[in-house]
Symmetry: D3
Subunit: 229 residues, 6 copies
């Protein structure tokens, strides 16, 4: 697959993407059984964004952003570009010119397992970017990779067309086929949490709310009065 | 002590806590002889907070936040919850529901040697949290740890009832018995620094202010005129 | 050179410094052939600053900031203090008193391959600081190093009088003798980028703008229609 | 798939496994187009082994080795057990009792993205193990994962039945369907390398052997006589 | 306590030390409820040693080994020297001269949360050393620390007189008062493991040996026949 | 200098190289005032070698070993090849074919701030190699760097013709012009250490041997009898 670009991909349903975006990363991650979370070293270049979109995937060589340029042609409005790298690398593969181009093509955001530069300009553009590092170090255009094949990005397999959800808590990948199921579980979780939040706000304990006392006792938890010293 | 919870602890004096909070982390750390500073990988979820309080301590297993729930019951107004982990782990053991509960119980802040999620919500709640990472990754409730026993958190031993001071510079632990002595040293340091700050502001050199020139010469420091190239 | 201080250094031309400051780190780094960028673990204590100045260099022992005090005497208005460390160390070698002093002497900023403390105060002073960590941990004054000799700071050799440019993207070092050449290349790059930015904004692809298609084809890039699944 | 075990998997052809084992990790990795290499933090517990086998995959929670026990039942002679973990974790999930069991079931080796303990005993047993760390830290049996589903282990997707090749250079994964093609490319590479090795041994330069001089010149490489200083 | 040396400490019973040494790190760690294991970044300079002894503790400044010299005077035959550092540091605080001295005083080994140099000579001397790094970098003698106070070394609190056990699996600390209890638990564990090892060697599964099937089923583990692809 | 190769360099005197090799890394590092030690993450591929030679330097792009091939042509018998990388990278830039070539050209060893592959073969060849990692990951030949210009390798500036000394303790660089001075200081140190070693072996304390007691007292060190608990 190295050296190959896939032009067309299945994309996720717009309604599903909107629903997942609203739920946010933490809820979506729980709702799909605590799977799909990219490693937490991916951090937002600026705080406060929340986006979801279909993944267009690219695989780059270390210190090389050629495939990122190739991938831009295949971005459709609402997509999120997901860039993996063949080995650990923090070079600044993406900057303000590419940010301008990604926005012009309708891209909603970027998840980049390399470095990002022009942090101030990207913040001013309000383009949401999650990256492994901020680094001004430039890259070359010399080695082929792939576009729109499955990649492992920050420890998680992302396939083109999977739904990427990203916010201040990180980045989660939802397989396209699972979106409906995850939304349902997420919305139920959200409702339950809204009720629980109110009860916790009034001072109720999660020990009681979630009925943990019996399990703790069964596991052998002991209380002593103290103080010990 | 694994599998045991201590209900009651000695807490530090409220006046002492207020004095230490006002002094801040850097001054307190110096005032107690450069000891007690937790490792600097603990970072605030949001910048700008400064808090102090008596430590309620919990020890969790990696990927597991059960003991954090148990500890919440023992929080009294003004306390700071200090959560250590048995091994290095960045999973998101604390989120907005627990934040709501901690605030409802009167907790002033959280120091967490694991990950924190719901960063945006916790920022909105203005609950001060210092953690090893931000990560949406959920945790389980399966393994016992302990509550209100001494723990090693980010490289420092914290005992229940020790005073925790935390701000943008990090987190420092003051043994309860040392609080008065540290406050005295800290306030003296503060006074001296206020004077020094004014003199430095006027352009005086620290070399002269602190009388370092003689020691430097004794160590053998040499000056050459240069430029060398 | 350990144990020696050079009093006088050649400084870069003020006009050159101003021009490099305006260009910013990413452009300068590209303009000098992708060299001179300090490692990206150096991060600004606060976001939004951009400065350039002649480097005054200091080399400190781990956990020791003595040479930083010595260096302050040699700072002239507009200089940037560059502090290297003999081994990896995150201790808080610089705080608000030294910040006050550096500003009083006319220093424009600090690049510190150790830790920085008093982050809130330094932010309030608007003194631009790039450091390896934020840490309240205090340092001693016991071991000699050097001032105004070449140092390796965050992976790059910096000589006294080199131009340091720093912003949200990191820190780059321009050898004094290369400044004019770099400015020329940087300004040309900037002009070209301004044109390209407009074209990209209109939706043109970088593949076409930079004429990459032929090279990609020559390397063997293949397109398939897809979708594959 | 969490909470599920797949009993039967397709295994790779024994002849293919033997051929890949003979080629070794570096050749296999090149032969499949520089893909499939697990991250180099996986290191052998003892040096000098080289093995290949069909992957039986397990996914464990951090600090928990329950699924490893479940996977042992499904090991067939010649298999290699590949254990991924939900988050980064170095706890000692595998020790001499499990090593005894893995050998008794005919397992040829273990690739473990967690820690390994009983390093001395495992070395004495000559069981080849690649792990992220050596750590005596024990694990619990409390959280379900999966067995024989695709996992991401040390940055690479491994599916049950893929061929794992491991030696002192690390661990590479060959998709079962690609084995024949990779063997062919690897053996050709090996033949070419044997010839090249002899020529290099006689002092011929790789610049000439691989005909690089023209490409270097085309890229603009310049030679100067020197010495420069 | 900085700046203070405690001359006399309680030491553990020689019989207890011998028993713990025989059990080894992994068994001792399990036998005391999975506590007390120093972080796994401490690695032996050479493989194959196993030692136990009473801890003599020292706390050093980064880049400074002065207190290590002070501690040597207090070493009694059979002791293990445990050296903590105020911040993360890999400088070579211990080399062949100190190794000669430690052996001459009867010291059985060294646990060092800094770097070790003269690795070849120390290997030749067969002095067991566990350290954070191997580094030739020399240290100074300029800053006071403490000797024979409790220290946090590699994440674990070690008090003078605690029993240190170290082998290829790492380093574990047993509080002196717990030694008898840990030995009893460890020897029982050892007996049980000997039986289990024989049964596993014959091909029995740990699933059956430890009766895990029921718990797995209760947690909801499902089996499917497969193969899935 | 990127894109340029310097054919001829000054080399160090053969006698000086032999003398430095005999002294070894730790002694040489001390003898030149604790400077010049490359960062300790560089580790030998196999233990037990000690070499010294004149540095031939190369600078490579991440994931690219082209300049290493170019540098091989310039190796003269006794040289050590020093390879720096533009950014942090662990890819396997050097393997058994290049090792064969380096030996055929008379090269004595390799210092590589990237990864090394074919670890078993290189060990069998007894070619001394120090690298940042062992990794089978192959590299490309696409981007120019430089040969025989000063480079920063593992944190230290190395100029062509500097003397590199490497053994199990790491790698140290001695500027060619300093060799004689360093040898003299090293040999004196060695003599003094031989005497001290004998005295320490007999049980004398370094506190007395080096006369530290007075300095410790002057700094305020206090002794208490203890035990404290």
């Amino acid at each position: 697959m190295n050296g190959t670009v896939v032009r067309n991909i299945h994309r996720a349903d717009a309604g599903a993407i909107a629903a997942l975006e609203r739920l946010g990363v933490a809820t979506v991650h729980e709702a799909q059984g605590r799977t799909g979370l990219l490693q937490p070293y991916l951090r937002p270049v600026w705080r406060g964004a929340r986006v979801a979109g279909s993944a267009v995937t690219a695989l780059c060589a270390p210190g090389d952003n050629w495939m990122l340029h190739v991938a831009l042609e295949l971005i459709k409005p609402g997509d999120i570009l997901v860039v993996a790298c063949m080995t650990e690398n923090t070079d600044g593969a993406f900057g303000d010119l590419l940010a301008t181009s990604l926005q012009a093509r309708g891209g909603k955001g970027l998840v980049l397992d390399m470095g990002c530069r022009d942090a101030a300009e990207i913040t001013a553009l309000r383009l949401p970017v999650w990256s492994r590092a901020i680094s001004a170090r430039g890259t070359v255009k010399a080695t082929l990779g792939s576009v729109n094949f499955p990649v492992v990005c920050a420890g998680i397999q992302v396939r083109p067309g999977d739904v990427i959800v990203a916010d201040d808590d990180g980045v989660v990948c939802v397989p396209r086929a699972d979106a409906a199921k995850v939304i349902k579980a997420g919305e139920e979780r959200e409702k339950k949490e809204a009720v629980n939040r109110e009860r916790l706000k009034k001072g109720e304990l999660s020990l009681d709310l979630y009925g943990m006392r019996k399990d703790l006792e069964a596991k052998g938890l002991k209380y002593v009065d103290g103080p010990l010293e």
